[in-house]
């Protein structure tokens, strides 16, 4: 009696009726299935990028086949008369994006430096959530404000219309700021504390330490931040559509081109897709614009992803 082994409590669950050896085998099968599912989920991300490209090509290819390339990238966008020249739209996107980036880089990097290096803790605790909030404000709300508030102000400044490159750039700049700030702040944070301490120890002021030591060592991270900011700006749709005036023309070179209406690639898709007959040439051209956008952002992000990869690799090596 007494030397009977103490039995563990019987396992009560899904498989309590199954004999122990079968239970082990079952467990193995379940693990196998679940692990395959998990692996499938991971790999499916590649598959999804492929699918997106496939469907863009499927609907957009006729545009490249039916319209001579010279005309497709020509200077006239006038769909009603079958003029599908993407050049004005590309120029529009580039102008607005460059404007946004010129505004956003100094603002974003400086704010990141302030948050990462100079701001006292209590300010950081207020400012960081606030910037997250900016990232959370829907683009349509900012576009709406640009439309009803900012555009009239720009017009009062002397522009012929309030819906201009500048208006779009200003709003886009603030929309890409959260991306730029958070990634460049991470880059500053990743600079080892010893670098700063070393600089301060040999008598540099805090500003000198930041300018001469911290910023150069965070350089690649800052470049990534700017690139992702550009990617974000070039793909923005709703706000840009509402405030850039949607005129498909190529403004003449000069400073006043900032105060002329343009039309971006994204806005063209959003504004015209609702009106075209499915399967028409115009419809395929809109998908072709999507292909151009996809290729541009894919290029920018792959490059940024590459840089991130090498950066992470370098950091790992340093840690070993």
């Amino acid at each position: 009696m007494s030397d009977e082994p103490v039995r563990p409590k019987p396992y009560v669950g899904l498989f309590s009726q199954v004999s122990p050896s079968d239970r082990l085998r079952l467990r193995g099968i379940i693990d196998f299935v679940i692990e395959r599912l998990i692996q499938f989920a991971g790999v499916s991300t590649i598959f999804i990028v492929g699918l997106i490209f496939f469907f863009l090509i499927r609907e957009g290819l006729p545009a490249f086949l039916d319209i001579p390339l010279r005309q497709l990238f020509g200077g006239r966008w006038y769909p009603i008369d079958d003029f599908f020249g993407l050049w004005p739209l590309i120029v529009g996107s580039i102008l607005v994006t460059v404007g946004a980036i010129v505004i956003a880089i100094p603002l974003g990097l400086t704010t990141a430096i302030y948050l990462g290096e100079f701001a006292p803790q209590w300010q950081r605790e207020i400012l960081k959530p606030l910037i997250e909030v900016l990232a959370g404000i829907p683009s349509i709300v900012l576009g709406f404000l640009g439309w009803v508030v900012l555009a009239p102000i720009v017009q009062r400044l002397g522009a012929p219309t309030g819906l201009t490159v500048f208006t779009g750039s200003l709003i886009l700049a603030y929309m890409s700021l959260p991306t730029i700030i958070s990634i460049s702040e991470d880059a500053l944070y990743a600079v080892p504390k010893e670098y700063r301490d070393g600089a301060l120890a040999i008598g540099a002021t805090q500003w000198q330490a930041v300018w001469r030591v911290v910023l150069p060592s965070a350089r690649s991270g800052l470049v990534i931040a700017i690139m992702l900011g550009i990617g974000r700006a070039i793909g923005e749709t709703m706000a840009v559509m509402m405030v850039t005036g949607n005129a498909a023309n190529v403004p003449g070179l000069g400073l006043d081109m900032l105060f002329q209406p343009v039309r971006t690639m994204t806005a063209t898709i959003a504004a015209e897709m609702g009106e075209v007959a499915q399967g028409s040439l115009h419809y395929s051209v809109l998908f072709a614009i999507g292909i151009v956008l996809f290729v541009i952002t894919f290029g920018i992000n792959s490059l940024a992803g590459r840089l991130m990869g090498t950066q992470a690799g370098r950091r790992r090596k340093e840690n070993i």
Partner: protein, 281 residues
């Protein structure tokens, strides 16, 4: 100018620029609240639009956005968490893994309007779902994947290695370890990521332009194959497509949209701080 003066000048300039970033954010939020709060009453959020949307409420649009957000959650959560577990627990540094990471970076960077085109080509036309809640939810769900994957992966990686070791040493299989030790510990972080992703989806307009949105549909959708109004698109419609729209309704709609999105963001950050305090390691 001495070095000290240069330092002070630099700090002064930097703080001024930081203020230039922060102050407009506060102004934008306050402005929308001040201009919109007068419109916001029970009738506005519980009745359907009347007389060409110029009177009445925006209830169908609010409900549409809520439904779409749930649909997005259903479409994206299983795949996103699976991918996050794969990256954090199973993936070794192989070429395949690097491709998966590259794919996620790219998914995060694809413009929202391109997602809209994809949804139109793949779900609305190819799968023949029509402009419907399900087509829109799938589109938004795929768009939300990268945000959720990255935050969930980070949350899983943050669980200390010793939890896994103890569990494995007690004879648990790898999946049992993940399910009973790692995931419960990582759950707050995962939930934060999901809510953040959903808050983005709720505010998006471009992906739903051609996949769900009804210009004007003053009733509730009958099924997931029905169209629906949605707040962001409704704001676009009433501010640019309808002439002589009263400004008060436009500001009211903008305020409701902003409140929904920002309260989701707020919930996410509350979950994060609350759970961080309760953390066992």
């Amino acid at each position: 100018m001495t070095r000290q003066q240069a330092h002070q000048l630099a700090v002064g300039l930097i703080s001024a620029v930081a203020a230039l970033v922060v102050i407009p954010i506060v102004l934008v939020i306050l402005f929308i609240i001040v201009r919109g709060i007068g419109t916001l009453d029970w009738e506005f959020i519980t009745t359907v639009p009347r007389s060409g949307m110029k009177e009445g409420g925006i209830m169908p649009a609010i409900l549409g956005t809520v439904i779409l957000t749930f649909g997005t959650a259903i479409a994206c959560i299983p795949l996103a968490i699976g991918a996050a577990i794969y990256l954090a627990e199973y993936a070794r540094d192989t070429r395949l893994t690097r491709w998966v990471r590259l794919a996620i970076v790219n998914l995060a960077g694809i413009p929202s309007i391109v997602y809209g085109l994809f949804g139109l080509g793949a779900f609305v036309l190819f799968l023949n779902l029509g402009t419907s809640i399900i087509a829109g939810s799938l589109t938004l769900g795929i768009m939300t994947l990268p945000v959720v994957i990255s935050t969930a992966e980070e949350a899983i990686l943050a669980v200390p290695q010793r939890f896994r070791m103890v569990s494995l040493s007690l004879g648990a299989t790898r999946w049992q370890t993940i399910r009973s030790q790692v995931l419960p510990q990582a759950m707050p972080g995962i939930i934060t990521g999901v809510i953040l992703g959903l808050s983005r989806a709720a505010g998006e307009t471009a992906p739903i332009l051609f996949t769900v949105s009804a210009f004007y549909l003053p009733r509730l959708p009958h099924s997931i194959f029905d169209q629906t109004m949605a707040l962001p698109y409704h704001l676009y419609v009433i501010s640019t497509q309808v002439p002589d729209m009263p400004l008060s309704i436009q500001y009211g709609t903008a305020l409701v949209l902003m409140l929904i999105v920002l309260s989701l963001t707020l919930i996410a950050s509350i979950v994060r701080t609350k759970m961080r305090r309760r953390r066992e390691w």
